[in-house]
């Protein structure tokens, strides 16, 4: 057992009386595990954690080709909310939200989940109809959400531009108070530390290069550190899902796109909540360090390069200035990209596959960080019981054949 993080232990360490344990111990892979998780992002690590904690399966390895949290988990804008439109999605994300609310304590690691609220802005009449629809759906599903008009927005966020003459005037917004942000890296590390504490092996710099399938059953994986056996393999490799699927002879209904973000230089706090606008393709919050964390839209082409085009970020900067003209002289400090795996209906796949013992958790696209604990939780149960967790049932991959899509896109813009 690792030493618990607490004021007491900090004091001891500060006085030089205690050495910290390794939060992420360096281990060598065993030759066989009960379950292998491919991908050491937040979702993969959470899956391993809940396998060990709730399903009693501790002989688990998480294999990560680089460093844990180095995929989208470590490069996202960290927005967490559960005000999704469709019942299926909202149940899943709300499940996750509840876990977030106790996560730091559960993991004994402060993931800095900060419920500073999220505004989703509406700029057109149809935006407002969609917002009404979504908020009402949320309330019926027990998810906290309200519709606010532009006056209330201005009261809450005095620096926002609510001029009626803006190119995209702000008409109103949905607001979820329990929504917010968390510290992305902390989430990966917190899950990793808690999982290894329960016996999970977290193996970094270990790329899975092939999946062994015999007679329709998974046998194990080939990695850059050698072969590792397991009867059950969960793939949680986000942007690389198609690549991993191919190793098992499968195809997926996903495409990998660059998604970009950037941060400003750190300033004293001025924006205390999270503001998102789909219409102008920009969303922004201010981190505890003081930098504005800004997310852009996806690039339309496929890519595995973890970078995108200038025009997307420049358009995003313009969008942010539409909302916050006072940020014009604030400077971008750093810009980066991630690889997001996008499903046609903007909902994930949490599913068994045609290969026995092989499960996929992918397709979270541009919005899976908020689902990290929930996704790991239902996926763990799905793997452990070889049966989809009830919240995961709608997210079966077969929906693309049956047509039972979940379609979180909603309206693709009114057209009259």
């Amino acid at each position: 057992m690792q030493k618990k993080y607490s004021w007491y232990s900090l004091l001891k360490a500060g006085l030089g009386n205690q050495e910290w344990d390794q939060a992420i111990p360096l281990v060598k892979p065993k030759s066989k595990y009960d379950v292998i998780i491919i991908g050491g992002g937040g979702h993969g690590l959470a899956t391993a954690y809940y396998l060990a904690k709730e399903c009693g399966i501790t002989n688990v390895a998480v294999l990560e080709k680089g460093y844990i949290g180095g995929g989208n988990t470590g490069r996202n804008t960290t927005i967490i909310r559960s005000n999704y439109l469709r019942d299926e999605a909202s149940s899943l994300y709300e499940h996750s939200m509840r876990l977030w609310e106790g996560l730091s304590e559960d993991l004994n690691f402060n993931v800095m989940f900060s419920q500073r609220g999220v505004y989703n802005l509406g700029h057109t009449l149809q935006d407002m109809r969609d917002i009404e629809r979504r908020v009402n759906a949320n309330v019926l599903n027990g998810v906290d959400a309200v519709v606010v008009d532009h006056k209330e927005i201005k009261e809450q966020i005095p620096i926002i531009n609510t001029s009626k003459n803006a190119r995209y005037p702000i008409m109103g917004a949905s607001f979820q108070a329990r929504a917010g942000v968390a510290r992305h890296d902390g989430v990966a590390w917190g899950f990793a530390r808690a999982a290894s504490n329960l016996g999970v092996d977290i193996i970094q710099n270990c790329e899975v290069i092939d999946i062994e399938v015999e007679e329709g059953k998974v046998k194990g994986v080939k990695t850059t550190l050698g072969d590792i056996m397991a009867d059950r393999v969960g793939c949680v490799s986000a942007g690389h899902s198609s690549v991993v699927a191919k190793m098992a002879g499968l195809r997926l209904p996903v495409e990998s796109h660059p998604l970009q973000a950037f941060v400003s230089e750190a300033m004293k706090p001025i924006l205390h909540t999270v503001v998102m606008s789909n219409a102008v393709h920009g969303y922004v919050s201010q981190s505890d360090k003081g930098d504005l964390v800004i997310g852009a839209g996806i690039d339309g082409y496929n890519s595995y390069a973890q970078r995108g085009s200038a025009k997307i970020v420049e358009h995003c900067a313009a969008a942010i200035l539409e909302l916050f003209p006072i940020f014009s002289r604030v400077r971008m400090n750093r810009q980066w990209g991630g690889i997001v795996d996008v499903c046609p209906d903007a909902c994930p796949v949490i599913s068994p596959t045609k290969v026995e013992g092989l499960y996929f958790n992918c397709g979270w696209g541009t919005g899976g960080f908020k689902a990290t604990p929930g996704s790991g939780n239902v996926f763990a149960h799905t793997i452990a019981q070889d049966k989809q967790h009830e919240l995961a049932v709608p997210f079966h991959i077969d929906r693309f054949t049956s047509g039972a899509l979940i379609d979180e896109h909603g309206a693709a813009g009114v057209a009259h």
Binding site: S6, G70, A137, M267, I326, A412, H416
Partner: protein, 1006 residues
Amino acid sequence: MRLKNHKSDFIDQSEALSFIFNNKSYKGYKGDTLASALIANDVLFFARSFKYGRKRGLMGSGVEEPNALVSLEIGGRYTPNLKATEVMLYDGLSAVSSSNPNSIDFRALIKPLHRFMPAGFYYKTFIKQKVWAMVEDSLRSIAGFSKAPTEKDEDVYDHIFHHTEVLVVGGGVAGITAALEVLNNSKTTRVILVDERAHLGGELFNEFQSDDTAISWHHDNLSKLLEFKNVANSRLKIFSRSTAYAWYDHNYIEVLQTNATGESLISGVTQAARKVLHKIRAKEVILATGAHERPMLFETNDLANIMLSQSVRRYLNEFGVISGKDVVLYGNNDSIYSTAIDIKNNAINCKVIDIRPSGGESETVLKAKKLGIEVLQGYAVLKAHGTNLVKGIEISSVELQGKKWRLTGPSKRLNCDLLASSGGFNPVVHLDCHCGAKTFFDEDSQAFLPQKVRKNRQVCGSISAIGFWKDVVIDAKNKAQLILLSLGEIKKSTQDSMSKNYLDYYNASQFFVPIEILNRPKVFIDMQNDVTTLDVALAIREGYRSIEHIKRYTAMGFGTDQGKTGNINGIAVAAQFLDVPLSEVGTTTFRPAYTGVDFGAMAGREVGGFFDPQRYTTIHDSHLESGAEFEVVGQWYRPWYYPKSGEDIHQAVNRECLAVRTSLGMMDASTLGKIDVQGKDSREFLSRVYTNAWMKLAPGSCRYGLMCNEKGMIIDDGVSTCINDNHFIMTTTTGGAASVYSALEMWLQTEWSDLDVHLSSVTDQFATVAVVGPNARNLMKVLCHDIDFERDNFKFMQWRPGTVCGVQARVMRISFSGELAYEINIEANYGRYIWDEVALAGKPWNITPYGTESMHVLRAEKGYIIVGQDTDGSMTPMDVNMKWILAKDKPFSYIGRRSFSISALNSDDRFQLVGLLTKDAHVVLPEGSHIINNKGGSIGYVTSSYFSPILRRSIAMAQLKGGLSKMTEIVLVKIVQEKQGLKEIPCEVSRSVFYDIEGEKVDGNE
């Protein structure tokens, strides 16, 4: 202080400038940076550090500066987080430290607690969610540098595209040489040379004191460059104060130029842009970006007046200022000797402490010794003394044992008031890595160098660890030759060889300092974020072993300087603690921006009204004149309603709707997408993309069509007109026009290239005026005399060519309101004219212009859907009760058809479009409210809802699970009102047609 009698090419002592820093006034000269002017005024403290609030002075002289963050000006010109080293001085400048070093600071007050707050502190504390929620805001307020701006920017930013054969980044010796070499050897090649500094020359100015040939070289070559520049149609562009900050795919590089007057644009003085973002596409790129010096590591190395050696030298040579009288130079390479020589030549005391043992000295070292400079070789600095300002140092002798340095002697103390250090140089490889190129660790130079070979790119000068400027010239020429070869300008390249000692400056035989030193507290690696060697050690001990983890755990390199001086040291320290070679640790990822870019500059002029095009119809001005309110649809601005004085939207819409129903209305329908379809296979084409039949539609007729995607979901609808057997005009929704058009082109070009069909967008060609209402025919007869408008001769869903008010027109009898209606289509240039004529001629019938809101009400009364409002991308034609529009016997399986048979599209509890009639006729359901089942769960929601003036009751459309089999059932719509609690409104499920159910109105009066 400023040196007397110092001659500088940069400082114009005849022009004194006054400025304010932290509320005190000072004087400087034209040519100063804020940093040099403050040194001249003996100001040594600039700001506080991020985490511990430590008082800090300058460390560097340029973009690498981590400490001296200030904000400039106030109001609409307030600018946060500028490095004092990058701000050019101007008269009246007013600057404030990002956090004032002279006032009390909470972070500094809790100094005794700092030992309990190592890297990763927050992960281990405030673990209870409630506690975290309580403390987070107060922690936030401590963080951050400058205050955020509070007012709208007064200045503008331009973007300019450039195309060039060669882009040279960096205008030092290497850049100047390379640019000239290219220009000299080609007659057509275009060259752009950019440098972030105000003057071309880079680090060469540093050599001016000691090397006259450097001066003449600079003079000659600069005049040669100017010769190329100052001619008509010059092939050479030079941008100074211009930073190449990002390199994107396919040699696309963005350069941010700060106006010559810099940050100082004063209202009304100039119309110039504050900054210009140059968007450069280059065939070939030459990187001549030089190298940044890195400091040596020792305890409390962050005290004020501990600086980089080359920066001290630069302040001395370029600006004639220095911040101490008793200088110690400390380092592991010859650069400290060059600085010492210059200092000594200015009659200032200095000593050199060289960690390298004596023996095998270079010319520079010998020269320094000859000048009488005291030199201690084989010594390391353990610690700097002083509270906030360096007062002295502790040194000890060292020895290289195997590959590691060890302390060998007892420590002793030396006094000094300025310590300049050099731990070697970090080549500025940033840009090269933005697009995926890698670096490698070069043992000779102890530096990460750019990937050796890359397409259409060369590097030259100190970016590839070439130190001596004369060698840089040779290297640059060689690389320029390779560029010329690649461009095909020369057949064979000439390559000259460099002097043997070209690595001299980099003779940093070993990177590390003794690990005993690294194990001390307060050895700062990242000054801005207060990251120390022990933080790195801790991260590693806790299992954060990857350099990326170390970076994220400690925040090393996260700051505004992006670790330009600190990161490589951090990597070396990590290597030391991990006990692996540096090459194995590797660097973190280099990302844009090389230096900060204002959001305003990124956006350029695409702000405000230019953020997104606003598209207007040719009749727009008339709508403005009528005081219309507008609705934005896609990029179009459509009249929403036309309020008369005193009217609110409801009153206006009631009036407009009733006018249409009872007499006559007019509407600008120009924004609907119009696609011209021609060719002998046009019918076949329409049959494939629409769900219904098109083979028999006669010329002169129109037909409504519904379009799906392959998923079987409705994506668009509209009326298409048969002009003749080979010619149709399709209309699309306003918002869907572009995507429909490109989808149709895709089918034609990628799948059905055998069809003889041409598509052209004709949306802009026509202005469309709709004349709607029972009196529409009467009006049309006035407007147009060459069309027979009699009911049986010009039927519903037909069109006729004719002349309307003297203009050739196509008149279509189609209706989106259920009333008798004509759409007049004329060439756009006559749109305004026809609109005015219609309004005039319609007066007898009190013709009333109406907007999209009334259009919505009118169509809802008739149960016509609006794609995107009543459907949402997950509705099939069956779902909207339009099975009738699915052709059964088309031979070609039209787009989407196959999907209709998959199981989920045939389930009974799909959302289906129905009408809702509230029990209480006056209650208008809010759009977006949900229909609930007896458990309170949602079973549908209201898509459209209005008060119908003609029916004097509310009407609504809704998507309801299994709705089509629930006719006449009563359902509850739940209203979620925050304050009054929840309310349930009973409604009857109905067909979605509410008015004129038999369709008798469409023929109008008679």
